[in-house]
Assembly symmetry: C2
Protein backbone atom coordinates (compact mmCIF):
# COMPACT_ATOMS: atom_id res chain seq x y z
CA UNK A 1 0.00 0.00 0.00
CA UNK A 2 0.98 3.64 -0.43
CA UNK A 3 1.32 4.86 3.12
CA UNK A 4 2.28 8.31 4.37
CA UNK A 5 3.73 8.94 7.84
CA UNK A 6 4.07 12.24 9.69
CA UNK A 7 5.53 12.43 13.20
CA UNK A 8 8.87 10.64 13.24
CA UNK A 9 9.61 10.88 16.97
CA UNK A 10 10.61 8.18 19.44
CA UNK A 11 7.40 6.25 18.71
CA UNK A 12 6.75 7.25 15.08
CA UNK A 13 10.13 6.40 13.61
CA UNK A 14 10.23 2.73 14.62
CA UNK A 15 6.55 2.39 13.63
CA UNK A 16 7.21 3.86 10.17
CA UNK A 17 10.26 1.63 9.87
CA UNK A 18 8.13 -1.49 10.53
CA UNK A 19 5.69 -0.44 7.78
CA UNK A 20 8.58 0.06 5.37
CA UNK A 21 10.12 -3.27 6.32
CA UNK A 22 6.78 -5.00 5.66
CA UNK A 23 7.06 -3.94 2.00
CA UNK A 24 4.76 -0.92 1.93
CA UNK A 25 5.61 2.15 -0.15
CA UNK A 26 6.31 4.74 2.54
CA UNK A 27 6.20 8.50 2.01
CA UNK A 28 7.34 10.78 4.81
CA UNK A 29 7.26 14.46 5.62
CA UNK A 30 8.66 16.21 8.67
CA UNK A 31 8.79 19.77 9.97
CA UNK A 32 12.51 19.21 10.58
CA UNK A 33 13.52 17.28 7.43
CA UNK A 34 16.61 15.80 9.15
CA UNK A 35 14.34 13.59 11.26
CA UNK A 36 13.36 11.75 8.05
CA UNK A 37 16.96 10.95 6.98
CA UNK A 38 17.01 7.54 8.65
CA UNK A 39 13.92 6.39 6.74
CA UNK A 40 14.89 8.06 3.43
CA UNK A 41 18.19 6.12 3.53
CA UNK A 42 16.13 2.93 3.84
CA UNK A 43 13.95 3.62 0.80
CA UNK A 44 11.18 5.94 2.01
CA UNK A 45 10.09 8.77 -0.33
CA UNK A 46 10.01 12.44 0.63
CA UNK A 47 6.83 14.53 0.25
CA UNK A 48 7.18 18.30 -0.19
CA UNK A 49 4.19 18.93 2.07
CA UNK A 50 1.44 17.11 3.97
CA UNK A 51 -0.89 17.94 1.04
CA UNK A 52 1.54 16.41 -1.49
CA UNK A 53 1.67 13.29 0.72
CA UNK A 54 -2.13 13.17 0.87
CA UNK A 55 -2.33 13.21 -2.95
CA UNK A 56 0.12 10.26 -3.20
CA UNK A 57 -1.18 8.00 -0.41
CA UNK A 58 -4.29 5.98 0.35
CA UNK A 59 -3.53 5.97 4.07
CA UNK A 60 -1.82 8.87 5.84
CA UNK A 61 -0.60 8.11 9.36
CA UNK A 62 0.13 10.78 11.94
CA UNK A 63 1.79 10.39 15.34
CA UNK A 64 2.19 13.81 16.88
CA UNK A 65 1.74 15.34 20.33
CA UNK A 66 -1.75 16.67 20.97
CA UNK A 67 -5.16 17.63 19.59
CA UNK A 68 -3.93 20.95 18.15
CA UNK A 69 -1.10 19.26 16.21
CA UNK A 70 -3.44 16.70 14.64
CA UNK A 71 -6.03 19.38 13.82
CA UNK A 72 -3.38 21.55 12.15
CA UNK A 73 -2.21 18.63 9.97
CA UNK A 74 -5.79 17.59 9.22
CA UNK A 75 -6.48 21.10 7.90
CA UNK A 76 -3.73 20.54 5.31
CA UNK A 77 -4.62 16.91 4.54
CA UNK A 78 -8.40 17.18 4.23
CA UNK A 79 -8.47 19.07 0.92
CA UNK A 80 -5.91 16.73 -0.69
CA UNK A 81 -6.96 13.24 0.51
CA UNK A 82 -9.01 11.34 -2.09
CA UNK A 83 -12.44 9.96 -1.19
CA UNK A 84 -11.99 6.44 0.18
CA UNK A 85 -8.64 7.24 1.76
CA UNK A 86 -7.91 7.19 5.48
CA UNK A 87 -6.25 9.53 7.96
CA UNK A 88 -4.96 7.08 10.57
CA UNK A 89 -3.92 8.96 13.71
CA UNK A 90 -1.80 7.22 16.34
CA UNK A 91 -1.51 10.32 18.55
CA UNK A 92 -3.10 10.60 21.98
CA UNK A 93 -5.67 13.39 21.63
CA UNK A 94 -8.97 14.34 23.24
CA UNK A 95 -11.79 11.89 22.37
CA UNK A 96 -13.92 14.89 21.46
CA UNK A 97 -11.28 16.16 19.00
CA UNK A 98 -11.25 12.73 17.34
CA UNK A 99 -15.07 12.68 17.09
CA UNK A 100 -15.08 16.13 15.46
CA UNK A 101 -12.28 15.33 13.02
CA UNK A 102 -14.15 12.20 11.99
CA UNK A 103 -17.31 14.21 11.26
CA UNK A 104 -15.38 16.80 9.25
CA UNK A 105 -13.54 14.16 7.17
CA UNK A 106 -16.75 12.20 6.55
CA UNK A 107 -18.11 15.15 4.56
CA UNK A 108 -15.21 14.57 2.11
CA UNK A 109 -15.69 10.81 1.97
CA UNK A 110 -12.49 10.26 3.96
CA UNK A 111 -12.26 8.14 7.11
CA UNK A 112 -10.53 9.48 10.19
CA UNK A 113 -9.44 6.68 12.52
CA UNK A 114 -8.22 7.31 16.07
CA UNK A 115 -5.71 4.59 16.92
CA UNK A 116 -3.69 5.57 19.99
CA UNK A 117 -1.13 3.09 21.23
CA UNK A 118 0.35 1.95 24.55
CA UNK A 119 3.68 0.30 25.23
CA UNK A 120 6.20 3.13 24.94
CA UNK A 121 9.24 3.39 22.69
CA UNK A 122 10.29 -0.15 23.68
CA UNK A 123 6.92 -1.47 22.48
CA UNK A 124 7.17 0.58 19.28
CA UNK A 125 10.64 -0.81 18.52
CA UNK A 126 9.65 -4.40 19.29
CA UNK A 127 6.31 -4.05 17.42
CA UNK A 128 4.49 -5.22 20.56
CA UNK A 129 2.27 -2.15 21.06
CA UNK A 130 -1.33 -2.31 22.23
CA UNK A 131 -3.40 -0.46 19.61
CA UNK A 132 -6.93 0.66 20.54
CA UNK A 133 -8.82 2.12 17.60
CA UNK A 134 -12.10 3.86 16.92
CA UNK A 135 -13.88 4.08 13.58
CA UNK A 136 -16.09 2.08 11.20
CA UNK A 137 -15.60 -1.64 11.84
CA UNK A 138 -15.58 -2.24 8.06
CA UNK A 139 -12.16 -0.57 7.99
CA UNK A 140 -10.66 -3.49 9.94
CA UNK A 141 -9.96 -5.42 6.75
CA UNK A 142 -7.68 -2.65 5.41
CA UNK A 143 -6.16 -1.60 8.73
CA UNK A 144 -5.54 -4.92 10.50
CA UNK A 145 -2.57 -5.85 8.26
CA UNK A 146 -0.95 -2.49 9.10
CA UNK A 147 -1.71 -2.82 12.81
CA UNK A 148 -0.19 -6.31 12.74
CA UNK A 149 3.15 -4.74 11.67
CA UNK A 150 3.12 -2.48 14.74
CA UNK A 151 1.50 -4.24 17.66
CA UNK A 152 0.53 -7.43 19.42
CA UNK A 153 -2.80 -6.43 21.01
CA UNK A 154 -5.21 -4.89 18.48
CA UNK A 155 -8.63 -3.85 19.82
CA UNK A 156 -11.44 -2.18 17.89
CA UNK A 157 -12.95 -0.20 20.76
CA UNK A 158 -15.96 1.18 18.83
CA UNK A 159 -16.96 4.22 16.78
CA UNK A 160 -14.78 7.30 16.22
CA UNK A 161 -13.38 8.55 19.52
CA UNK A 162 -13.65 5.14 21.20
CA UNK A 163 -9.93 4.52 20.68
CA UNK A 164 -9.15 7.77 22.50
CA UNK A 165 -11.59 6.88 25.30
CA UNK A 166 -9.73 3.58 25.72
CA UNK A 167 -6.42 5.47 25.74
CA UNK A 168 -7.80 7.90 28.33
CA UNK A 169 -8.67 4.86 30.47
CA UNK A 170 -5.16 3.52 29.86
CA UNK A 171 -3.48 6.74 31.03
CA UNK A 172 -5.83 7.01 34.01
CA UNK A 173 -5.01 3.49 35.18
CA UNK A 174 -1.30 3.74 34.35
CA UNK A 175 -0.47 7.13 35.89
CA UNK A 176 -2.66 6.35 38.95
CA UNK A 177 -0.52 3.22 39.36
CA UNK A 178 2.67 5.30 39.09
CA UNK A 179 1.38 7.65 41.80
CA UNK A 180 0.31 4.75 44.05
CA UNK A 181 3.74 3.17 43.56
CA UNK A 182 5.36 6.49 44.52
CA UNK A 183 3.20 6.66 47.66
CA UNK A 184 4.22 3.09 48.57
CA UNK A 185 7.89 3.96 48.00
CA UNK A 186 7.53 7.04 50.21
CA UNK A 187 5.78 5.07 52.98
CA UNK A 188 8.38 2.29 52.90
CA UNK A 189 11.28 4.77 53.08
CA UNK A 190 9.68 6.68 55.95
CA UNK A 191 9.20 3.38 57.84
CA UNK A 192 12.85 2.44 57.25
CA UNK A 193 12.13 -0.39 54.80
CA UNK A 194 14.08 -0.83 51.54
CA UNK A 195 11.63 -0.17 48.68
CA UNK A 196 13.63 -2.36 46.30
CA UNK A 197 12.69 -5.34 48.52
CA UNK A 198 9.10 -4.17 48.87
CA UNK A 199 8.82 -3.88 45.10
CA UNK A 200 10.18 -7.39 44.65
CA UNK A 201 7.59 -8.78 47.09
CA UNK A 202 4.71 -6.85 45.52
CA UNK A 203 5.63 -7.96 42.01
CA UNK A 204 5.07 -11.57 43.09
CA UNK A 205 1.55 -10.99 44.45
CA UNK A 206 -1.82 -9.43 43.65
CA UNK A 207 -0.30 -5.94 43.27
CA UNK A 208 2.02 -6.98 40.43
CA UNK A 209 1.97 -4.80 37.29
CA UNK A 210 4.01 -3.43 34.38
CA UNK A 211 4.09 -0.05 36.17
CA UNK A 212 5.64 -1.64 39.27
CA UNK A 213 8.14 -3.42 37.03
CA UNK A 214 9.27 -0.32 35.11
CA UNK A 215 8.46 2.77 37.21
CA UNK A 216 8.91 0.92 40.51
CA UNK A 217 12.45 -0.03 39.48
CA UNK A 218 13.20 3.58 38.48
CA UNK A 219 11.98 4.85 41.88
CA UNK A 220 14.00 2.21 43.76
CA UNK A 221 17.11 3.27 41.79
CA UNK A 222 16.19 6.99 41.96
CA UNK A 223 16.71 7.10 38.20
CA UNK A 224 14.54 9.93 36.89
CA UNK A 225 15.82 9.98 33.30
CA UNK A 226 12.80 9.68 31.03
CA UNK A 227 11.17 6.97 29.44
CA UNK A 228 8.22 9.08 28.37
CA UNK A 229 8.69 12.67 29.57
CA UNK A 230 6.26 13.54 32.38
CA UNK A 231 4.82 16.56 30.55
CA UNK A 232 3.24 14.17 28.01
CA UNK A 233 1.52 12.23 30.81
CA UNK A 234 0.42 15.60 32.23
CA UNK A 235 -0.98 16.58 28.82
CA UNK A 236 -2.79 13.24 28.53
CA UNK A 237 -4.23 13.58 32.02
CA UNK A 238 -5.68 17.01 31.29
CA UNK A 239 -7.62 15.25 28.51
CA UNK A 240 -8.69 12.41 30.79
CA UNK A 241 -10.19 14.89 33.26
CA UNK A 242 -11.79 16.97 30.47
CA UNK A 243 -13.51 13.86 29.09
CA UNK A 244 -14.72 12.97 32.60
CA UNK A 245 -16.23 16.42 32.99
CA UNK A 246 -17.81 16.17 29.51
CA UNK A 247 -19.35 12.80 30.43
CA UNK A 248 -20.36 14.00 33.90
CA UNK A 249 -18.55 11.33 35.88
CA UNK A 250 -16.51 11.79 39.06
CA UNK A 251 -12.95 10.40 39.03
CA UNK A 252 -11.78 10.94 42.61
CA UNK A 253 -8.40 9.21 42.21
CA UNK A 254 -8.02 10.75 38.74
CA UNK A 255 -8.50 14.24 40.20
CA UNK A 256 -5.92 13.56 42.91
CA UNK A 257 -3.39 12.27 40.38
CA UNK A 258 -4.01 15.41 38.27
CA UNK A 259 -3.03 17.51 41.30
CA UNK A 260 0.17 15.54 41.83
CA UNK A 261 1.08 15.86 38.14
CA UNK A 262 0.46 19.62 38.45
CA UNK A 263 2.86 19.57 41.42
CA UNK A 264 5.45 17.72 39.31
CA UNK A 265 5.17 20.31 36.52
CA UNK A 266 5.34 23.20 39.00
CA UNK A 267 8.58 21.72 40.39
CA UNK A 268 10.11 21.92 36.91
CA UNK A 269 10.32 18.15 36.29
CA UNK A 270 8.20 18.07 33.12
CA UNK A 271 11.06 16.86 30.93
CA UNK A 272 12.04 14.08 33.34
CA UNK A 273 10.41 10.73 34.07
CA UNK A 274 6.96 10.49 35.66
CA UNK A 275 8.57 8.52 38.51
CA UNK A 276 9.42 12.06 39.74
CA UNK A 277 5.96 11.85 41.37
CA UNK A 278 7.95 10.30 44.24
CA UNK A 279 9.84 13.58 44.68
CA UNK A 280 6.58 15.57 44.75
CA UNK A 281 5.64 13.51 47.83
CA UNK A 282 9.09 13.98 49.36
CA UNK A 283 8.75 17.78 49.06
CA UNK A 284 5.63 17.73 51.24
CA UNK A 285 7.43 17.35 54.55
CA UNK A 286 5.24 17.41 57.63
CA UNK A 287 5.77 20.36 59.98
CA UNK A 288 7.27 18.30 62.82
CA UNK A 289 10.08 17.07 60.53
CA UNK A 290 11.11 20.48 59.15
Amino acid sequence: MNIGFIGLGGMGQPMAEHLLAAGHTLTVWARRPASADFLLERGARWAESPAAMARACEIVCTNVTGSADVESLAAQLITALKPGSVHLDFSTIAPQAARELSRRYAEKGVDFVDAPVSGGTAGARAATLAIMWGGKSALAERLDPLFACLGKTIVHAGASGAGQVAKACNQLVMVAAIEATAEAARLAAAAGVDFAKVRQALQGGSAGSRVLEFFGAKMAARDFAPGVVARLHHKDFVMVMAEATRQGVPLPVGATVMQQLDGLMAAGWGTEDTSRLLCVLERARPAHLI
Copy 2:
Protein backbone atom coordinates in the same frame (compact mmCIF):
# COMPACT_ATOMS: atom_id res chain seq x y z
CA MET B 1 9.15 -29.89 62.43
CA ASN B 2 6.39 -29.60 65.03
CA ILE B 3 4.24 -26.81 63.65
CA GLY B 4 1.04 -25.34 65.07
CA PHE B 5 -1.52 -23.49 62.97
CA ILE B 6 -4.37 -21.25 64.12
CA GLY B 7 -6.71 -19.51 61.64
CA LEU B 8 -8.09 -22.10 59.22
CA GLY B 9 -9.99 -19.77 56.92
CA GLY B 10 -9.88 -19.45 53.13
CA MET B 11 -6.15 -18.69 53.24
CA GLY B 12 -5.11 -20.60 56.35
CA GLN B 13 -6.58 -23.99 55.52
CA PRO B 14 -4.74 -24.55 52.22
CA MET B 15 -1.55 -23.15 53.78
CA ALA B 16 -1.78 -25.57 56.71
CA GLU B 17 -2.54 -28.36 54.25
CA HIS B 18 0.68 -27.64 52.32
CA LEU B 19 2.72 -27.82 55.56
CA LEU B 20 1.10 -31.14 56.42
CA ALA B 21 1.69 -32.48 52.89
CA ALA B 22 5.37 -31.52 53.18
CA GLY B 23 5.71 -33.98 56.03
CA HIS B 24 5.63 -31.66 59.04
CA THR B 25 3.83 -32.66 62.25
CA LEU B 26 0.88 -30.28 62.26
CA THR B 27 -1.13 -29.34 65.34
CA VAL B 28 -4.27 -27.25 64.92
CA TRP B 29 -6.69 -25.39 67.14
CA ALA B 30 -9.78 -23.44 66.09
CA ARG B 31 -12.43 -21.38 67.85
CA ARG B 32 -14.99 -23.37 65.86
CA PRO B 33 -13.56 -26.92 66.02
CA ALA B 34 -15.47 -27.99 62.88
CA SER B 35 -13.18 -25.85 60.75
CA ALA B 36 -10.31 -28.18 61.69
CA ASP B 37 -12.08 -31.40 60.58
CA PHE B 38 -10.60 -31.35 57.07
CA LEU B 39 -7.04 -31.27 58.41
CA LEU B 40 -7.66 -33.70 61.28
CA GLU B 41 -8.91 -36.25 58.72
CA ARG B 42 -5.58 -35.83 56.92
CA GLY B 43 -3.46 -36.50 59.97
CA ALA B 44 -3.24 -33.21 61.85
CA ARG B 45 -3.36 -33.31 65.67
CA TRP B 46 -5.82 -31.33 67.79
CA ALA B 47 -4.66 -29.01 70.57
CA GLU B 48 -7.04 -28.30 73.45
CA SER B 49 -6.01 -24.64 73.55
CA PRO B 50 -3.51 -22.20 71.98
CA ALA B 51 -1.39 -22.64 75.11
CA ALA B 52 -1.40 -26.45 74.71
CA MET B 53 -0.32 -25.97 71.10
CA ALA B 54 2.45 -23.61 72.16
CA ARG B 55 3.83 -26.23 74.55
CA ALA B 56 3.91 -28.88 71.79
CA CYS B 57 5.30 -26.84 68.87
CA GLU B 58 8.55 -25.09 68.00
CA ILE B 59 6.79 -22.84 65.49
CA VAL B 60 3.20 -21.62 65.95
CA CYS B 61 1.61 -20.06 62.86
CA THR B 62 -1.37 -17.73 63.00
CA ASN B 63 -3.46 -16.41 60.13
CA VAL B 64 -6.35 -14.38 61.54
CA THR B 65 -8.04 -11.10 60.72
CA GLY B 66 -6.53 -8.09 62.45
CA SER B 67 -4.19 -6.73 65.11
CA ALA B 68 -6.62 -7.42 67.99
CA ASP B 69 -7.01 -11.09 66.99
CA VAL B 70 -3.25 -11.65 66.86
CA GLU B 71 -2.71 -9.80 70.15
CA SER B 72 -5.39 -11.89 71.86
CA LEU B 73 -3.77 -15.14 70.67
CA ALA B 74 -0.29 -13.87 71.54
CA ALA B 75 -1.47 -13.26 75.12
CA GLN B 76 -2.28 -16.98 75.36
CA LEU B 77 0.81 -18.20 73.49
CA ILE B 78 3.49 -16.07 75.12
CA THR B 79 3.50 -17.81 78.50
CA ALA B 80 3.57 -21.29 76.93
CA LEU B 81 6.06 -20.94 74.05
CA LYS B 82 9.54 -22.21 74.90
CA PRO B 83 12.58 -19.95 74.50
CA GLY B 84 13.91 -20.37 70.96
CA SER B 85 10.49 -21.01 69.49
CA VAL B 86 8.76 -18.77 66.96
CA HIS B 87 5.32 -17.19 66.62
CA LEU B 88 5.01 -16.89 62.84
CA ASP B 89 2.08 -14.61 61.98
CA PHE B 90 0.73 -14.56 58.42
CA SER B 91 -2.09 -12.11 59.24
CA THR B 92 -2.22 -8.56 57.89
CA ILE B 93 -1.92 -6.36 60.97
CA ALA B 94 -0.65 -2.88 61.77
CA PRO B 95 3.17 -2.61 61.46
CA GLN B 96 3.21 -0.99 64.87
CA ALA B 97 1.35 -3.95 66.41
CA ALA B 98 3.94 -6.31 64.93
CA ARG B 99 6.82 -4.20 66.29
CA GLU B 100 5.30 -4.23 69.78
CA LEU B 101 4.54 -7.96 69.77
CA SER B 102 8.12 -8.62 68.70
CA ARG B 103 9.43 -6.57 71.64
CA ARG B 104 7.14 -8.34 74.11
CA TYR B 105 8.09 -11.84 72.86
CA ALA B 106 11.82 -10.97 72.84
CA GLU B 107 11.68 -10.63 76.64
CA LYS B 108 10.73 -14.34 76.75
CA GLY B 109 13.38 -15.40 74.25
CA VAL B 110 10.73 -16.09 71.62
CA ASP B 111 10.82 -14.63 68.10
CA PHE B 112 7.73 -13.01 66.66
CA VAL B 113 7.85 -12.91 62.85
CA ASP B 114 5.43 -10.86 60.77
CA ALA B 115 4.96 -12.65 57.45
CA PRO B 116 1.89 -11.32 55.64
CA VAL B 117 1.12 -12.78 52.24
CA SER B 118 -0.34 -11.65 48.94
CA GLY B 119 -1.99 -13.69 46.21
CA GLY B 120 -5.44 -14.48 47.60
CA THR B 121 -7.08 -17.86 48.15
CA ALA B 122 -6.01 -18.94 44.64
CA GLY B 123 -2.38 -18.22 45.51
CA ALA B 124 -2.75 -20.02 48.85
CA ARG B 125 -4.18 -23.12 47.16
CA ALA B 126 -1.54 -23.14 44.42
CA ALA B 127 1.28 -22.36 46.90
CA THR B 128 2.29 -19.39 44.76
CA LEU B 129 1.88 -16.69 47.43
CA ALA B 130 4.20 -13.72 47.78
CA ILE B 131 5.46 -13.76 51.40
CA MET B 132 7.05 -10.60 52.81
CA TRP B 133 8.52 -11.09 56.28
CA GLY B 134 10.05 -9.03 59.02
CA GLY B 135 12.30 -10.32 61.78
CA LYS B 136 15.90 -11.35 62.48
CA SER B 137 17.57 -12.43 59.26
CA ALA B 138 19.16 -15.36 61.12
CA LEU B 139 15.67 -16.93 61.22
CA ALA B 140 15.72 -17.40 57.44
CA GLU B 141 17.44 -20.76 57.77
CA ARG B 142 14.55 -22.19 59.82
CA LEU B 143 11.72 -20.36 58.07
CA ASP B 144 12.69 -20.55 54.39
CA PRO B 145 11.84 -24.28 54.08
CA LEU B 146 8.35 -23.54 55.48
CA PHE B 147 7.88 -20.50 53.24
CA ALA B 148 8.92 -22.61 50.24
CA CYS B 149 5.89 -24.89 50.92
CA LEU B 150 3.54 -21.90 50.70
CA GLY B 151 4.81 -19.37 48.21
CA LYS B 152 6.88 -18.56 45.17
CA THR B 153 8.17 -15.07 46.05
CA ILE B 154 9.80 -14.95 49.48
CA VAL B 155 11.22 -11.58 50.53
CA HIS B 156 12.90 -10.73 53.85
CA ALA B 157 11.83 -7.07 54.05
CA GLY B 158 13.82 -6.20 57.19
CA ALA B 159 13.40 -6.09 60.97
CA SER B 160 10.14 -6.80 62.84
CA GLY B 161 7.28 -4.84 61.29
CA ALA B 162 8.98 -4.58 57.88
CA GLY B 163 6.83 -7.40 56.51
CA GLN B 164 3.72 -5.49 57.53
CA VAL B 165 5.08 -2.28 56.00
CA ALA B 166 5.59 -4.18 52.74
CA LYS B 167 2.05 -5.55 53.01
CA ALA B 168 0.71 -2.04 53.67
CA CYS B 169 2.47 -0.96 50.45
CA ASN B 170 0.95 -3.95 48.70
CA GLN B 171 -2.59 -3.08 49.78
CA LEU B 172 -2.04 0.61 48.94
CA VAL B 173 -0.89 -0.20 45.40
CA MET B 174 -3.46 -2.95 44.85
CA VAL B 175 -6.61 -1.24 46.12
CA ALA B 176 -5.58 2.05 44.42
CA ALA B 177 -5.36 0.02 41.20
CA ILE B 178 -8.85 -1.42 41.82
CA GLU B 179 -10.23 2.11 42.32
CA ALA B 180 -8.43 3.43 39.20
CA THR B 181 -9.81 0.47 37.23
CA ALA B 182 -13.31 1.28 38.52
CA GLU B 183 -12.88 4.91 37.44
CA ALA B 184 -11.76 3.78 33.98
CA ALA B 185 -14.76 1.44 33.74
CA ARG B 186 -17.09 4.27 34.76
CA LEU B 187 -15.54 6.70 32.24
CA ALA B 188 -15.72 4.15 29.41
CA ALA B 189 -19.38 3.35 30.14
CA ALA B 190 -20.33 7.03 30.32
CA ALA B 191 -18.61 7.60 26.95
CA GLY B 192 -20.48 4.65 25.41
CA VAL B 193 -17.45 2.38 25.08
CA ASP B 194 -17.50 -1.30 26.08
CA PHE B 195 -15.20 -1.68 29.10
CA ALA B 196 -14.54 -5.34 28.28
CA LYS B 197 -12.77 -4.16 25.10
CA VAL B 198 -11.00 -1.35 26.92
CA ARG B 199 -9.71 -3.81 29.50
CA GLN B 200 -8.45 -6.13 26.77
CA ALA B 201 -6.55 -3.24 25.14
CA LEU B 202 -5.09 -2.01 28.44
CA GLN B 203 -3.94 -5.48 29.45
CA GLY B 204 -1.69 -5.54 26.36
CA GLY B 205 0.04 -2.21 27.12
CA SER B 206 1.81 -0.27 29.84
CA ALA B 207 -1.28 -0.31 32.11
CA GLY B 208 -1.40 -4.12 32.33
CA SER B 209 -1.64 -5.64 35.81
CA ARG B 210 -2.98 -8.51 37.89
CA VAL B 211 -5.68 -6.16 39.23
CA LEU B 212 -6.86 -5.37 35.70
CA GLU B 213 -6.86 -9.09 34.94
CA PHE B 214 -8.91 -10.13 37.98
CA PHE B 215 -10.90 -7.11 39.22
CA GLY B 216 -11.21 -5.59 35.72
CA ALA B 217 -12.85 -8.79 34.50
CA LYS B 218 -15.24 -8.79 37.47
CA MET B 219 -16.25 -5.18 36.75
CA ALA B 220 -16.74 -5.89 33.04
CA ALA B 221 -18.98 -8.85 33.97
CA ARG B 222 -20.63 -6.94 36.86
CA ASP B 223 -19.82 -9.95 39.04
CA PHE B 224 -19.53 -8.65 42.61
CA ALA B 225 -19.30 -12.02 44.38
CA PRO B 226 -16.18 -11.94 46.55
CA GLY B 227 -12.84 -13.00 46.05
CA VAL B 228 -11.63 -11.30 49.20
CA VAL B 229 -14.53 -9.51 50.94
CA ALA B 230 -14.23 -5.74 50.69
CA ARG B 231 -14.39 -5.19 54.45
CA LEU B 232 -10.97 -6.87 54.76
CA HIS B 233 -9.48 -4.43 52.24
CA HIS B 234 -11.18 -1.63 54.17
CA LYS B 235 -9.64 -2.93 57.42
CA ASP B 236 -6.21 -3.14 55.76
CA PHE B 237 -6.52 0.37 54.37
CA VAL B 238 -7.29 1.85 57.78
CA MET B 239 -3.92 0.42 58.84
CA VAL B 240 -2.17 1.79 55.73
CA MET B 241 -3.40 5.29 56.53
CA ALA B 242 -2.58 4.92 60.25
CA GLU B 243 1.00 3.93 59.39
CA ALA B 244 1.26 6.92 57.02
CA THR B 245 0.16 9.25 59.80
CA ARG B 246 2.59 7.61 62.22
CA GLN B 247 5.45 8.08 59.74
CA GLY B 248 4.31 11.61 58.85
CA VAL B 249 3.96 11.08 55.12
CA PRO B 250 1.15 12.29 52.86
CA LEU B 251 -0.58 9.67 50.71
CA PRO B 252 -2.95 11.73 48.55
CA VAL B 253 -4.21 8.82 46.42
CA GLY B 254 -4.28 6.60 49.50
CA ALA B 255 -6.52 9.09 51.31
CA THR B 256 -8.87 9.27 48.33
CA VAL B 257 -9.10 5.48 48.10
CA MET B 258 -9.84 5.37 51.85
CA GLN B 259 -12.82 7.69 51.22
CA GLN B 260 -14.13 5.47 48.41
CA LEU B 261 -13.76 2.35 50.59
CA ASP B 262 -15.69 4.19 53.32
CA GLY B 263 -18.38 4.86 50.70
CA LEU B 264 -18.45 1.17 49.78
CA MET B 265 -18.89 0.17 53.44
CA ALA B 266 -21.59 2.80 53.98
CA ALA B 267 -23.49 1.36 51.00
CA GLY B 268 -23.58 -2.03 52.73
CA TRP B 269 -21.24 -3.84 50.31
CA GLY B 270 -18.60 -4.88 52.87
CA THR B 271 -19.22 -8.60 52.37
CA GLU B 272 -19.05 -8.37 48.57
CA ASP B 273 -16.08 -7.95 46.24
CA THR B 274 -13.97 -4.79 46.25
CA SER B 275 -14.88 -4.34 42.56
CA ARG B 276 -18.04 -2.80 44.11
CA LEU B 277 -15.95 0.41 44.11
CA LEU B 278 -17.40 0.78 40.59
CA CYS B 279 -20.90 1.05 42.09
CA VAL B 280 -19.76 3.72 44.56
CA LEU B 281 -18.84 5.84 41.51
CA GLU B 282 -22.13 5.02 39.79
CA ARG B 283 -24.06 6.27 42.83
CA ALA B 284 -22.48 9.71 42.54
CA ARG B 285 -24.61 10.93 39.66
CA PRO B 286 -24.06 14.53 38.61
CA ALA B 287 -27.00 16.89 39.14
CA HIS B 288 -27.71 17.39 35.44
CA LEU B 289 -28.27 13.65 34.95
CA ILE B 290 -30.64 13.11 37.88
